[in-house]
């Protein structure tokens, strides 16, 4: 049995957590560079504000003055995500974090009543502890849990938790679910299916499996099985490594930052390459440096620091920049460093990111990704022919527009809420 926990209108809810005056009002959050709408409160949806609409269009529309606008504040969202996931992990150690605002709990060995009680308690607890409203869908497969979650969100009568536990409930839910809302049915397959008379999830499961196989291949059959309640999607995050580490002891010792910068850049580049090979993205890049513990006559120092990325990444320039930022924060003169390394953590599947409408950001990233792929090609011979010309941190932040950004309420001492 699975429970899919999904934060309601997550970015908007994060803004509201520290700005309660936004409760009950139409709110939108803009993409990086204030380009377009990437999150909407229910009130904004009711006003007809569409996902992805460019900000200048919204501003000039009749609703423009009524809607509260915020620039995206990924540091804030990342911190609240970490808290929500922490509470979930404490309640259910087998947690598969799917994206910044979604996670599957594996509830094996629990009765349905226990699962319901647990989830109802979690909805209340997460709301109270973090200010974030969540919805939970419970079912025997992940795809059905997604659908249950959708109902939990849509109808307030469920008070945040919807269970699909009988055949009647399942068929009713499938009947009410348009085929293009089904997890695993891509935007390309949906119109094709609709043309063949498959408009709802129920239409889909009523086709024979041979038909599904013929038109949709093996992944289609998997979705078809999942919709019947069979658990066939492997636990993604199980297969994924929890961390990737690249570290070396040096033949000589290294006292200076310049040389360490080069070494750490290489380690970070290798980690990024491994990430891409596994089709993964990471949120955290940790750099550590160590002196030689056997040289008791020399001063000892073993620092480590972690940079948290605002958006998960696998591209070499971003991973390298993050590793170097961590390095700069821990490096001290006066020590003979013998060993260094980079650890990538908080790893997710690269198809779990919802940031596909992050206009300029994704353009930037696409370019960077192309560079990374080229680097992989050149470097596959084993010698690191292509390297990143190491940049100063903050390079990426220049020129990004964020006119409506809220504060770093929970991560910066200088930007706390003010209490009168």
């Amino acid at each position: 049995m699975y429970a899919l926990v999904d934060c309601n209108n997550f970015f908007v809810s994060c803004e509201r957590a520290f700005q309660p005056q936004l409760e009950g009002r139409p709110v939108v959050v803009l993409s990086n560079n204030d380009g377009c709408v990437v999150a909407r409160s229910n009130e904004s949806k009711a006003l007809g504000v569409k996902m992805g609409v460019p900000y200048y269009q919204l501003r000039e529309s009749s609703n423009g003055s009524r809607v509260e606008v915020r620039s995206s504040n990924y540091t804030l969202y990342g911190d609240l995500s970490r808290r929500v996931m922490g509470i979930l992990r404490e309640a259910c150690p087998e947690l598969q974090v799917y994206s910044i605002d979604e996670a599957f709990m594996v509830l094996d060995g629990m009765s349905l009543d226990q699962a319901k009680d647990l989830c109802r308690g979690l909805v209340r607890k997460i709301r109270r502890w973090t200010g974030i409203p969540v919805s939970i869908g419970i079912a025997s497969s992940k795809t059905l849990a997604k659908i249950a979650n959708h109902f939990a969100k849509k109808y307030s009568g469920y008070r945040g938790v919807c269970v699909i536990d009988t055949d009647q409930k399942r068929d009713k839910a499938l009947e009410l679910t348009p085929i293009d809302d089904v997890w695993g049915i891509g935007w390309r397959s949906a119109p094709k299916l609709q043309k063949m008379g498959v408009n709802t999830a129920l239409d889909f499961v009523q086709r024979p499996s041979a038909w599904v196989h013929k038109h949709m291949g093996i992944t289609g059959v998997r979705t078809w099985q999942e919709l019947q309640g069979d658990d066939v999607i492997e636990g993604e995050s199980h297969e994924r490594r929890q961390t990737i580490c690249t570290s070396r002891s040096f033949a000589e010792t290294i006292p200076d930052l310049e040389e360490l910068t080069l070494r750490v850049s290489d380690f970070a580049g290798i980690c990024a390459h491994k990430l891409r090979k596994e089709h993964s993205l990471a949120y955290e890049v940790c750099t550590f440096i160590q002196t030689n513990p056997f040289r008791k006559d020399l001063p000892q120092y073993y620092p480590a620091a972690t940079t948290r990325l605002e958006m998960p990444s696998s591209n070499t320039p971003q991973i390298v920049a993050a590793a170097l930022r961590a390095l700069e924060s821990i490096y001290k003169e006066g020590y003979q460093y013998k060993r260094a390394g980079v650890i990538i953590a908080n790893i997710i599947a690269d198809d779990a990111v919802q940031g596909d409408i992050f206009d300029t950001e994704s353009e930037l990233r696409e370019k960077a990704d192309k560079v990374s792929v080229l680097m992989d090609k050149f470097n596959s011979s084993g010698s690191n022919m292509l390297r990143i010309a190491t940049q100063r941190p903050g390079h990426y932040a220049e020129g990004i527009r964020r006119e409506h950004c809220s504060r770093l309420f929970s991560t910066d001492w200088n930007e706390l809420i003010e209490v009168h």
């Binding site: 972690t306 940079t307 209490v419």
Partner: protein, 154 residues
């Protein structure tokens, strides 16, 4: 990627000793970690900065840092960060009418459901500010309970 924040990881917790055992590890147990002492519920703990003089008689001054625990149920006498009429305010929670003395005083340490409780007063630590009787007309929530006040004196 921009403005990513850097947090130090204590060496003994970082789990990075693929090669050398760290000689520093032996000493980590003895470190008094302020986070552990000041933060009972990490997922629910946030910080706030005091502005103004509403709590001067309670020893809380402008610029102090508040440790705020959102997981706690408000109890009689708690210092709380309240959101009232569009602003965060630092107040003592009381379930008894300050004008009437202590006749209907609740027992200390007993928790009250703030939403179910009709009579609620917000008291400040400065005679300049009158008690506020919360009625349904107020836009009001208890945002979190203050568990520590951090004061910089040098």
């Amino acid at each position: 990627m921009e403005e990513s924040h850097i947090q130090g990881i204590p060496v003994a917790q970082a789990g990075i000793h693929a090669g050398f055992p760290s000689p520093a590890q032996d000493y980590m147990d003895g470190i008094m970690d302020l986070n552990k002492e000041l933060v009972r519920h990490p997922a629910a703990t946030f910080y706030g900065r005091v502005v103004g003089d509403s709590m001067v008689n309670a020893g809380v001054d402008e610029g102090d840092v508040l440790v705020i625990d959102k997981s706690l149920e408000p109890q009689e006498g708690d210092m709380a960060v309240c959101f009232i009429d569009g602003e965060f305010a630092l107040k003592f929670i009381s379930f008894k009418d300050p004008g009437k003395g202590g006749s209907n005083a609740p027992k200390p340490g007993v928790s009250y459901n703030i939403l179910g409780c009709k009579d609620l007063w917000l008291l400040s630590g400065n005679p300049k500010y009158k008690p506020i009787h919360i009625t349904e007309g107020n836009d009001f929530t208890v945002w979190g309970i203050v568990t520590y006040v951090i004061k910089k004196i040098k």
